[in-house]
């Protein structure tokens, strides 16, 4: 990459409708400081393109096949500025909670688009240090109330997998990450176990240890381990430590 191109703002446009991409492309084309590096028609493509091309700014539709805009944002992390573009006005608050630069409504007005681009450029110049919470934390906080996660998108490089919560056996805290055990595989995701716990339906998942959340349907039996602690044996054969508090919680659940 030469010096000239590196000064440009690298932009990706994500929308499942060709015409919706086309108008953004047209608006962007009058900006010589912008380089359009990718156009994606769905969430998977978007995550892949962002992982591989590392654009500075993404114009992101919300309702798309495979992954919606929020799930994409959750997976691409904080280094990319995001402007949502949607026909729906009811996601605006959520959008700003996940630190979106702006929220454009379709049909997109040229003036409004310019304003959003200016905001994005200002944010990029300031290049906020990534001491913001992880994107997954923000997404968890911005989830509509009284609605629990039904699926968890995880990313491994440019590959995206989706774990339906029914297939999640347990989650284990590993420093800044959680390891999600599902179908005999473990997926790493940058999120704290506490925020994952609040996102999961408490009637189906339980925090049984400082580092473990278990899918209650998978618990086969609980066995004593030492004087103070127990292990939960899952139907998959996995054994998870149960803390004293966790044991008390499990007992009240099982006794019900």
């Amino acid at each position: 990459m030469n010096a000239e191109t590196s000064n440009k703002i690298r932009v990706a446009v994500v929308d499942d409708e060709e015409l919706a991409r086309q108008i953004l492309r047209e608006f962007l084309s009058s900006h010589p400081e912008i380089e359009l590096v990718a156009e994606c028609a769905n969430g998977f493509e978007a995550v892949k393109a962002v992982a591989e091309l590392k654009p500075d700014l993404v114009f992101l539709d919300i309702q798309m096949p495979k992954l919606d805009g929020f799930e994409v944002l959750e997976l691409i992390g904080n280094d990319t500025a995001v402007v949502f573009v949607t026909a729906h006005d009811n996601f605006a608050i959520r959008a700003f909670e996940v630190h979106a630069v702006d929220y454009l409504m379709k049909p997109v007005a040229a003036g409004r688009f310019e304003a959003a681009l200016k905001r994005a450029e200002e944010r990029l110049e300031g290049k906020a240090p990534s001491n913001r919470p992880a994107a997954a934390e923000l997404a968890a906080a911005a989830r509509p109330p009284a609605q629990y996660l039904e699926r968890i998108p995880v990313r491994d490089g440019a590959r995206v997998s989706i774990i339906p919560v029914a297939k999640l056996d347990y989650a284990e805290a590993q420093d800044d990450y959680v390891a999600l055990a599902s179908d005999g595989k473990k997926h790493l995701k940058q999120q704290t176990i506490a925020s994952l716990e609040t996102a999961l339906d408490p009637s189906r998942f339980m925090r049984i240890h400082r580092s473990y959340i278990v899918n209650l349907e998978r618990v086969a039996k609980i066995e004593p381990y030492s004087k103070d602690s127990h292990v939960a044996v899952l139907t998959t054969g996995a054994q998870l430590p149960v803390s004293r508090a966790g044991y008390a919680r499990l007992r009240t659940f099982l006794d019900r």
């Binding site: 015409l19 495979k66 699926r151």
Partner: protein, 361 residues
């Protein structure tokens, strides 16, 4: 409508603008030293008045030959040809005028002969003036086009707001409108003809739905044409991703159905089915008519892994309620997903509509 000739003020301004041109022509004629200055003036004024009116006609070839719609050769041939013809006529008129003056006024005797060496000057001036007016008309056309585009955008935003209000009444999903308007907005610059077509399709659909609010039953045929208008708009948005197949029994077309009964089902199949599929998919609509009852089946592909949280079912619940309210247990409604297919099946009594039944009692 001619942009200048049709408005008196513009025409006046235009003729005033020709005064310096007349002066220039008089100057050029007197430069030949054969024509005296007063003769040059007497010739130049009526000639320029004549040519000013004549050049108004340059607008017509400009209008029929849009600058970015034809090849450069054609553009050149049209206007250079026009310029040659116009300047030729003009030069001839100059000579005729000089001959009339020479033979009727003593002071101008021999003017027609003395004008002879100046005729090439008049010809060249005529060509240049004609081409200048061609240029002028193209600028005018471009200005008009940009003004019209601005007005169109403005009109569209007003349309959008009004349509939103009425659409809510008519239960049309406003997001369908916003997305369609966004598509039209994208097309206005890339493919204006397509944009216009989509405006007309959208207008057609809205007009049909708005008119239906008061009616309690319409022939299935009318509902089908409503669905076709709706699909035509959606097709522009989704392109090849949306594939519709329909099989309608002929004798079902005349059957009365509640208005907007099927359209929400098709809309549902698109927004919760096709829209969530990367490659898109099909929607199948089957309508049969047997033993006094109509059976309607809408089937579509969908992504079973897509989260179900979206307002899925509101449209369906609405259809179900309306069916039950009108027909009670004489109608059935069933909606379920199996694998990657979603299927809605309805049966309702064929024949006379509810309204007519009540009236007959």
């Amino acid at each position: 409508m001619h942009p200048i000739a049709a408005q008196f003020r513009r025409l006046l301004l235009y003729l005033v603008a020709w005064i310096p041109l007349a002066a220039l022509l008089a100057f050029l004629l007197s430069m030949t030293h054969e024509v005296r200055p007063e003769e040059a003036v007497v010739l130049a004024i009526p000639l320029c008045l004549f040519y000013a009116v004549f050049c108004l006609s340059a607008w017509y070839p400009c209008r029929t030959t849009p600058i970015d719609g034809v090849s450069f050769e054609k553009l050149l041939m049209t206007h250079v040809g026009g310029a040659l013809v116009a300047a030729g006529i003009w030069t001839f008129a100059a000579w005729v005028l000089a001959w009339i003056l020479a033979s009727s006024v003593n002071a101008f005797r021999g003017l027609n002969e003395r004008l002879f060496p100046a005729l090439p000057v008049i010809l060249v001036t005529g060509i240049l003036l004609y081409l200048l007016s061609v240029f002028f008309y193209y600028v005018l056309i471009a200005l008009e086009a940009s003004r019209a585009a601005e007005a169109r955008v403005m009109q569209m935003s007003i349309l959008a707001r009004e349509a939103e209000l009425k659409a809510l009444k008519a239960q049309v999903n406003p997001h369908f409108l916003f997305n369609s308007l966004n598509s039209i907005s994208a097309l206005t610059s890339s493919d204006p003809a397509k944009a216009r077509e989509m405006c007309i399709l959208l207008g057609d659909f809205l007009r049909r739905t708005l008119g239906l609010g008061e009616k309690s039953a319409i022939p299935l045929e009318e509902e089908m044409s409503l669905i076709h208008a709706f699909l035509a708009v959606e097709q522009t948005r989704y392109g090849a991703r949306l594939h519709m197949e329909e099989k309608i029994a002929k004798d079902a077309l005349a059957v009365d159905v509640p208005p907007l009964l099927l359209q929400p089902l098709v809309e549902n199949a698109i927004s919760h089915g096709i829209a969530n599929l990367v490659e898109g998919g099909w929607i199948r609509l089957n309508v049969g008519c047997e033993n006094g009852s109509v059976s309607i089946v809408v089937e579509n592909l969908f992504d079973p892994d897509a989260p179900a949280r979206r307002r899925n079912g509101v449209g369906l619940a609405n259809v179900r309620q309306r069916l039950m309210a009108r027909y009670g247990n004489r109608a059935t409604f069933e909606a379920k997903g199996e694998g990657d297919r979603f299927r809605v099946a309805i049966t309702l009594p064929a024949g006379k509509s509810f309204e007519k039944e009540v009236a007959a009692q």
